[in-house]
Amino acid sequence: MSTARSTPLHDEHLALGASMTEFGGWMMPLRYGSDIAEHTAVRSAAGLFDLSHMGEIEVSGPGAGAALDHALVGWLSTLEVGRARYSMIAQEDGAVVDDLVVYRTADETFLVVANAGNAEVVLAALEERVVGFDAQVTFTSPEVALVAVQGPRAAEILLSLTAAEHQDAVSSLKYYAITPATVAGTDLLVARTGYTGEDGFELFVENGAAVALWRALLVAGEPLGLVPAGLSARDSLRLEAGMPLYGHELDLTTTPFEAGLGRVVRLDKTDADGAPVDFVGRAALEARKSSEPARVLVGLKALGRRPARAGYPVVVDASKLDLVIGTVTSGAPSPTLGYPVALAYVTPEYSAAGTRLAVDVRGRGEAVEVVETPFYRRPRG
């Protein structure tokens, strides 16, 4: 028997014929039909995702900003109300516990969104790290569902269901921003964030209203090309967009620097009195920043048709498979680009764009080239 949890939208997925899979302790839709069709719909029209497995944690109180500055690697107290920021939570040794999106929903309220499989670990860490600050940590995830509409038609679809008085707030919402709104008759939070590389929105809604919202979005979006999309499309979309996935590009053996995400580590952050903030992992990350990385994350474009997969060795030369200089962390055929792509950690000397390398694909060397990421960048109108 599986002990995986189900989201409030579980029966909707089954009714839509989804293949379900366990992910991060949850039963989630892998795909409803063709994962390539779902992927393509998100790039050309829109896709509807159930992200209720993500972990929502509220940090509130007069000291919430200061508490997060101590708990996370980012400088969250400077985040404006209504804005969002990508951040990470590190261990004392600088290793990444999780990557997070943090929203400031009110002056004294932050919404931290953790990856499904890490939610409890992040919750426990935050509870421990806010001690001594005038702040409280609340695990709101059990009451909150999360639905995403992603793709070039996402704004049009969402606005068709948005209350008249919130039209302006939603249509003018900036990327990485959040606002309360009434959508399909339900009060919820609309964030212009996502994980697909497209324009799109993530809707935080109470569990009881999730099914009605999901159905309303499907009905409103169908004439515009919206389809429900599962984890398989989500993964190929995020890979094309060059975004890290915890457990693949990030884990407890990695600091943000190897992943090319050193910019999220704010060693310059100061408290209200202008004094440097001592955050968890600071000393280790400061030391790490000034040392040469042993490996760096790069994008690989396959020159043949066989995709590299997570865990496959990267080698300098297809004829010398024993000379390993790296490891693939994610890899798949790119439906948008028409060739396989991968992310891999390699030694720095082989990390320059244009470098020809090879991947050991089950015993055969397959030629790849180091390329800049993201592999895919959406056309901006």
């Binding site: 390539i36 398989s232 993964d235 995709p307």
Partner: protein, 123 residues
């Protein structure tokens, strides 16, 4: 949803085969459904001698890769080039246009009846 034609035989590794010779070999509806959208096929060349139970190719989808095991020993006499060029036909028609290889059979490995295979995949 499952689709297991009664006139074919099957392997535990989700291949199907016809009982004539040359035998036609493919992967089952359940196999393609589990894999998702198939994007790449690696099949043995015509003339290759293959052994029942050995790995003779690969079926790769967006999410994963699966090995193709030969259900029979013999000589590959035909390869479905149409499927190699358009692997999605293995999804759309796994028992028809999405066949993979034809083999002149010298001996057959362990196979399952349609009923036994249905029991294995739980349908």
């Amino acid at each position: 949803m499952s689709n297991i034609p009664a006139d074919l035989t099957y392997t535990a590794e989700h291949e199907w085969l016809t009982s004539d010779s040359p035998a036609t070999v493919g992967i089952t509806w359940n196999a393609q459904d589990a894999l998702g959208d198939i994007v790449y096929l690696e099949l043995p060349a015509v003339g290759t001698q293959i052994e029942a139970g050995s790995v003779v190719g690969e079926v790769e989808s967006t999410k994963s890769v699966s090995e193709l095991f030969s259900p029979v020993s013999g000589t590959v006499v035909e390869v479905n080039d149409e499927a190699v060029a358009n692997p999605e036909i293995v999804n759309s028609d796994p028992y028809g246009a999405g066949w993979l290889v034809k083999v002149e059979v010298t001996s057959t490995g362990p196979v399952l009846t349609a009923e036994e295979y249905a029991a294995q995949v739980g349908s």
